[in-house]
Point group: C2
Chain length 347, copies 2
């Protein structure tokens, strides 16, 4: 049994954690559905649907999130002109225990399903894997999806809504929203050109009311790796957009990267800072949740990329990987972030 | 911006849900660590380690599972002769809320991490994706890992142990165990030659004490797809091994596949039926949990494959995708299963 050494090697892998795609998959469609609070924010015009009903016609928060997920994925597929039967794989993640939002949302699709857990980094994780499957020759059409629901998240991680518990200034507001993208082997872009996969980074943060501080080190880590692995500078990108670091985390990120020799300040933005009007909407540190980065990307940034108003973007969804139980046990909060490079055109 | 149509297509995809690997990745090492109950079973001699301490030196069930996971992954890497720094990616999943076992277990590795949720199908999901990343040219070394812990699972899904609640005859016993494999672009096999990805299948089962019945339809669905997609008969394989269907689920599986025209009875086995001595160990329907299929594969089947006692195997970890909350809300239990084809030699 001859060794296959030399016959095959990771030709697309660069440095510690990055890959470049030989035939960059095209994001041929995107859809985003959100709740009323998100619909009252500055990105209202970009969302496909704004639901007045926080329950999405269902009876529980979990069912609401599944319905939100199902509708958004179906809409993304519909907008592409393909059918659900054309979809080779669905990648989806959310925050709920046993990722129930994604599971029950994808159930009716009948398509091959890969469930993910990366907390709020799920969209980055999903888009990275989707692109690898397409570029690897395993699929022509792959959906990447992530969702969150404010009420479901409060129930899963914090307190009953009826208590009216006060939130810390560093706390964020979980987005009720879903973003879905369809990646394809053929298309006119925007293209996923590279991906850097995050490691779990834990700098000892314990405050569950300050997710930004817990996640910023992981975001800095993956962004720095992306630049080093691929020999790029921040100026390569028009926009470097994190998922939900919020005010606190964004400031920390910029500082951490400055310490590494990378100045991203002039081109950094954060989906959690974009989705709400922080002066009028009382969201404290900003928006959060898997659906935050997913919906803001699928609605706002996808539009900007399609129009060529942004040509090269690094999309970096960020997640905090704790649970209620680990916090109660005195554990620290590990973070993770995944960087996805998207370009309007490829040569 | 020219369309890339025709330049690239899913050359490795077959039928509805299957892929064949052009350069089948080699499983160059495997490790399995289990608890005492598993160590008292018939596969004792195959496990790398049997822990006398159900807490694995830690103070909580969740920390115990993380420690179990960390040790097993490190052992698999050590046995391969490589170092953790050589590992390009880790895929890991478990049953805990927010997959805490995997997250805190992988934290110290420093390696790029993809968290999965597929319930007890996690090892199949992980091995499929790991193989795709290697064969796709994105990685040379990828770990696939799955874990479960009896006490952590009882806490997450059922009742406090102190209550001494009686279990139904159809109930299974969650394995305390972890199985890790290291896939590589070079090696002498056994080789991962193909993978069929499951869809979520829900036939309306509501009994959380009968996981086998909930999962059997998903297993039948993916196995039938595997045969059809790749134009194979059951006789192609020496062994077709499900994860944890147990007694009830296995009987159902065989019947469901018979109805589809596939007779697998003579070559079917189930990790949940293998890991315990069901006459002496009072496990009712058999073993279950992500760690069941993972540990039994990494210990027992990997050994049989290396020795050539099994030449071609279809490994089908099976998962039930409910949560406590969805059951309480009267939801049904969706199932999923992923089929991984493994062959001792490739021509």
């Amino acid at each position: 049994m001859a060794s296959t050494k030399g016959k095959f090697c990771m030709t697309k892998h660069y440095g510690d954690a990055s890959v470049k795609f030989t035939n960059p998959p095209s994001i041929i469609s995107a859809a985003a559905i959100v709740g009323q609070k998100e619909g009252d924010g500055p990105l209202a015009a970009y969302f496909d649907e704004i639901s007045q009903d926080i329950l999405f016609g269902k009876e529980t928060w979990e069912q609401a999130e599944s319905e939100l997920m199902r509708r958004t994925v179906e809409l993304a597929v519909q907008k592409s002109g393909k059918t659900m039967a054309d979809v080779n794989y669905i990648f989806a993640g959310d925050l709920l225990n046993q990722t129930s939002g994604s599971v029950y949302g994808a159930r009716s699709s009948g398509r091959p399903f890969f469930g993910l857990f990366g907390a709020c980094s799920a969209m980055g994780e999903g888009m990275s894997l989707a692109a690898m499957l397409v570029d690897g020759g395993f699929a022509d059409y792959v959906v990447a999806n992530a969702s969150s629901h404010f009420c479901g998240a409060e129930k899963t991680f914090r307190f009953p809504l009826e208590l009216g518990t006060q939130r810390a200034p560093t706390a964020s507001w979980t987005v009720t929203g879903d973003g879905a993208v369809l990646l394809a082997a053929y298309g006119d872009g925007p293209y996923v050109t590279a991906a850097t996969t995050g490691a779990i980074v834990d700098m000892g943060q314990k405050d569950a009311n300050n997710m930004g501080a817990a996640m910023a080190p992981a975001a800095a880590d993956v962004i720095a790796k992306h630049f080093r692995d691929l020999n790029l500078l921040p100026t390569h990108y028009d926009a470097i957009v994190t998922g939900d670091l919020g005010t606190v985390g964004s400031t920390l990120l910029i500082q951490l990267l400055q310490d590494e020799g990378f100045d991203i300040k002039s081109r950094h933005n954060d989906c959690g800072l974009l989705i709400y009007d922080r002066e009028k909407q009382d969201v404290h540190a900003g928006g959060s949740g898997c659906g935050c980065s997913a919906a803001v990307f699928a609605a706002y940034f996808y539009d900007k990329l399609k129009k060529g108003e942004i040509n090269k973007m690094l999309f970096v969804p960020t997640g905090a990987l704790h649970s209620v139980v680990t916090i109660q046990q005195g554990e620290t909060i590990p973070g993770i972030a995944h960087a996805v490079a998207i370009e309007r055109s490829i040569s």
